[in-house]
């Protein structure tokens, strides 16, 4: 790998880490994920694209918030209203596609007696 652009970038980042930075550049950004979503859609996988768009929105959440959201979606955790409210909250926080997922879950769970 020596000599490749990615190698040089890693060298520079390592120098910054040694100088005290804790950032390794391993956090993906919403922008990168949306670009990757566009690539996936252009190659015909709209489901992968939708997943990556949701992922782009989830970069706005902390690890804890994200794990809480997962917990909420597990069976029997939330009432219909709770799911709807959480979806509305997410829309306000500009996570519309994650919100859609919650709304879809609310309908489906309700129909199966899970919420």
């Amino acid at each position: 790998m020596n000599g490749t652009p990615k190698h040089h970038r890693a060298e520079r980042t390592l120098a910054m880490i040694l100088a005290g930075s804790a950032d390794t550049g391993h956090q993906i950004t919403a922008g990168s994920l949306r670009t990757q979503a566009d690539h996936a859609a252009a190659r015909g996988n709209r489901n992968l694209a939708a997943n990556l768009h949701r992922a782009a929105e989830l970069t706005a959440l902390s690890d804890e918030e994200m794990l809480d959201l997962y917990e909420l979606l597990r069976p029997g955790r939330a009432t219909l209203d709770q799911l709807r409210q959480e979806a509305a909250q997410l829309r306000l926080r500009a996570l519309p596609q994650v919100a859609d997922l919650l709304d879809g879950a609310a309908d489906a769970y309700h129909g199966r007696g899970l919420a």
């Binding site: 790998m1 490749t4 990615k6 190698h7 970038r9 890693a10 060298e11 980042t13 390592l14 880490i17 040694l18 930075s21 804790a22 950032d23 390794t24 550049g25 391993h26 956090q27 993906i28 950004t29 990168s32 994920l33 670009t35 990757q36 690539h39 996936a40 190659r43 015909g44 996988n45 489901n47 992968l48 694209a49 939708a50 997943n51 990556l52 949701r54 992922a55 782009a56 929105e57 989830l58 970069t59 959440l61 690890d63 994200m66 794990l67 959201l69 997962y70 979606l73 597990r74 069976p75 994650v98 997922l101 919650l102 879809g104 879950a105 489906a108 769970y109 129909g111 199966r112 899970l114």
Partner: protein
């Protein structure tokens, strides 16, 4: 007649075969114990109104369970569905094996097919047809493989050394897990560092409880995951405390932290949970795979996995396993094709399970080749383990197929193991997690498994693992520790692995990271197979890698072992026909005693000839040593010998040790007695053959020489010697009359 209480000896021997430890089941559709085309599987159907799926596979929307609902609302491309569903099953099946129908067309059609339709079409394919379809349909151009790297005690230096070996052997994804959850962060660090030693770019995974796994990923200590499991029936989903929606969120959560992810499914999990809904393995798995695509997973790990033995118990089970792998490919997703669980006590049966995958190829042939001894595999023994590697590499060479692995140079390998063990020792020490002395490093380099390792005080690794979590250590801490302890290049590689995740190029279908940190995936390195051409076979470099195993021999060097004991025996002159009725000819091949002096069984040819001569003399005969030059064929040598013998009898001997008693007038190959298995012959066999000659000559009853019974293969250890020695005989052959020879 034998009673059931006393089986025949034959039956008793067969009963002891390992395959009888595997258990087989009568098909039982109600319990889901049927491979495919189950009697309760629904007929495919799809009704769409105003862009909404109103009915799927015989079930109206109001009766949809959670899986139906998610698939109907997200998993079908309604723009192609109606036309795709109208295509007859057999037409679709034929398209899969038609080289003129492009892969892309089939992937597009699959996006409009319901699970029942997919299962029904796949079930039409014979194993060979399915293998061909897989060759055409897999996503990435070149197959790769994932390794399990674990050990019973989570010894971090052994994990590091084994991760390095796995990468040096060709694995591009390395997966670990733990017996003790708290050890997980240390395992993750050991793999992250060890895997980057021989080459950059291998992805690593620590398969543990979801929140810990996600945390390790968020910290940059792992780079991919495949623990997100899908099931084909709703009750199993709910029992697993998940739904398609919670799984979809989880899949997006991993992507949001830049982690590659594939979901896991596989036949038999619903049976094992007692909720198969009376459906066949293939139909339920088709539901999982369509769901996998619907939630946006780039790939699927399937092919039995934990349920492989359920599939193994039913007729057609292995066929079904291959078909479920194929379905993943047909849907255009990364196929990580199982073969990761030891599915039989029989070596023949477990190999038969895996071979079709190797021949057809897949994106990841194994979702866990056990790169450690079976006893050290914390996932349970894999279908292939490190002890099988030499066999695996020879099978790969036999078929000249790219089965993803190669044999690392032993010295380089030892170096990689040491570098990996030292680097991880240094990181753990620098981060004040655990201190391990040189004994541990040396043992990790040398060890076959954890039984060869010095003990680590109980609880120390778990304690260190908790420290990693509590102190918030990330990949940055690991990189800094590596650099501070002088492992600069390794630190750069570890940082590079973290940075890849920032870009997200490895989130695409079938993505693997090359040693130069470029990405091969379905988009950048697609499978464009279009029929038989040399282009699809391994290229020159890869061919050399597959071919040159450490025990490959140069046949031209072999004869030294058999020819180094000269000088040639003395030639006395032309051999004449004798009138002496006691005259017996010991007829030698062109090179026997001329260039070849040792037989295949390691006997000195001089000793053999001397023993034969003594035996004949003690029977009152007069043996004479004659070399036949014009033929290397034992029968012809014998016939030429017996034609000269006053008694009409000869005993012919080739340099490699094959021997025959022959009587003049008989056709060359109609020898009275033949010792053909030269590698097994002992001196007393030749003595007895000589004694028998005397018996035949005097028309006495004779006991033919019986070679010691031995079921070991003859050809594999000896045939190269035969090729080499026959070549020596052939070069010594001359068109000239026989000559008399003496060993003195």
């Amino acid at each position: 007649m034998s009673s059931p209480e006393s089986p025949t000896r034959r039956r008793a021997v067969l009963n002891a075969r390992p395959v009888y430890r595997d258990r087989l089941a009568v098909e039982n559709a109600d319990l889901g114990l049927v491979a495919m085309d189950g009697p309760h599987d629904p007929a495919p159907s799809l009704r769409i109104r105003d862009g909404v799926v109103e009915e799927m596979d015989g079930r109206p929307r109001e009766q949809f369970d959670l899986i139906d609902r998610f698939i109907a609302d997200h998993g079908l491309d309604l723009a192609v569905a109606e036309a795709a569903m109208r295509l007859p099953d057999q037409r679709l099946a034929r398209m899969l094996v038609d080289i003129n129908v492009p892969r892309a067309d089939l992937v597009r059609l699959a996006s409009g097919l319901t699970p029942a339709k997919l299962a029904r079409v796949a079930a039409l394919l014979s194993p060979v047809e399915a293998m061909f379809a897989a060759r055409k349909m897999r996503a990435r151009a070149v197959p790769s493989a994932q390794a399990h790297v674990t050990n019973r005690v989570d010894h971090p230096l052994l994990l590091a050394a084994d991760a390095a070996m796995a990468v040096a052997t060709g694995f591009r994804e390395i997966e670990t897990t733990v017996p003790v959850l708290a050890d997980a962060p240390i395992n993750a660090i050991a793999l992250l560092v060890g895997s980057q030693v021989p080459a950059a770019g291998a992805l690593t995974q620590c398969s543990v409880e979801e929140s810990v796994e996600l945390t390790l990923g968020m910290r940059g200590l792992t780079s991919y995951a495949e623990t997100v499991s899908l099931y084909g029936t709703e009750p199993v989903f709910i029992d697993g405390d998940d739904t398609p929606w919670s799984k979809a969120l989880l899949v997006s959560a991993y992507a949001s932290r830049g982690m590659k992810l594939r979901v896991t499914s596989g036949a038999g999990s619903e049976c094992l949970m007692g909720a198969a809904d009376g459906k066949s393995l293939l139909y339920l798995e088709a539901r999982c795979i369509v769901l996998a695509r619907a939630i946006g997973s780039q790939g699927v790990q399937n092919g039995g996995i934990d349920g492989i033995s359920v599939a193994g118990a039913v007729p057609g089970g292995m066929h079904e396993i291959f078909l479920e792998n194929l379905l993943v490919m047909w849907l255009g997703l990364e196929a990580c094709t199982g073969n990761d669980t030891l599915m039989s006590a029989s070596d023949i049966r477990r190999t038969a399970h895996t071979l079709p995958t190797l021949l057809a190829g897949s994106d990841l042939l194994f979702s866990g080749y056990g790169a450690v001894p079976a006893y050290d595999n914390s996932f349970g023994p894999s279908n292939f383990n490190i002890d099988d590697l030499p066999d695996y590499l020879v099978v790969q060479r036999d078929w000249m197929l790219d089965a993803a692995l190669h044999e690392p140079d032993e010295n380089e390998l030892t170096g990689h193991r040491r570098t990996a063990a030292i680097a991880v020792r240094d990181v753990l020490d620098a981060l004040e997690l655990i201190t391990l002395d040189d004994r541990h490093v040396d043992a990790a380099v040398d060890a076959h498994g954890s039984q060869d390792m010095p003990e680590i005080q109980s609880g120390q690794i778990a304690r260190a693992g908790r420290l990693v979590l509590d102190k918030g250590y990330t990949v940055a801490n690991v990189a800094r520790a590596l650099s501070q302890r002088g492992h600069h290049d390794l630190a750069v590689r570890v940082v590079a692995m973290a940075q890849l995740r920032g870009d997200g190029d490895h989130l695409h279908i079938g993505a693997l990271v090359n040693p130069d940190l470029t990405i091969d995936c379905a988009f950048t390195a697609p499978n464009t197979y279009d029929g038989p051409t040399p282009q699809w076979r391994p290229g020159r470099e890869r061919r050399a890698q597959i071919t040159n195993l450490r025990h490959v021999e140069d046949v031209t060097a072999i004869p030294d072992r058999f020819t180094d004991h000269g000088p040639p025996w003395t030639t006395l002159g032309p051999a004449a026909r004798s009138d002496d009725p006691r005259d017996v000819v010991i007829a030698l091949s062109p090179a026997a005693g001329e260039r070849i002096f040792t037989t295949l069984s390691g006997l000195s040819l001089r000793d053999v000839v001397t023993a034969i001569g003594h035996e004949l003399a003690s029977a009152g005969l007069r043996p004479r040593l004659v070399r036949v030059h014009r033929s290397i064929d034992l029968g012809r040598i014998a016939a030429d010998g017996s034609a000269l013998a006053g008694s009409g009898w000869s005993l012919a001997l080739q340099g490699k040790g094959t021997a025959m008693v022959h009587h003049h007038g008989r056709p060359p190959l109609a020898g009275e007695e033949l010792l053909s298995v030269a590698p097994r012959l002992r001196l007393h066999d030749y003595t007895q053959l000589a004694a028998n000659l005397a018996g035949y000559l005097h028309d006495r009853p004779v006991d033919p020489v019986l070679i010691d019974p031995n079921g070991e293969p003859l050809g594999p250890p000896h045939h190269l010697d035969v090729v080499a020695l026959v070549h020596v005989e052939r070069t010594a052959q001359q068109e000239r009359p026989p000559t008399e020879v003496t060993v003195r």
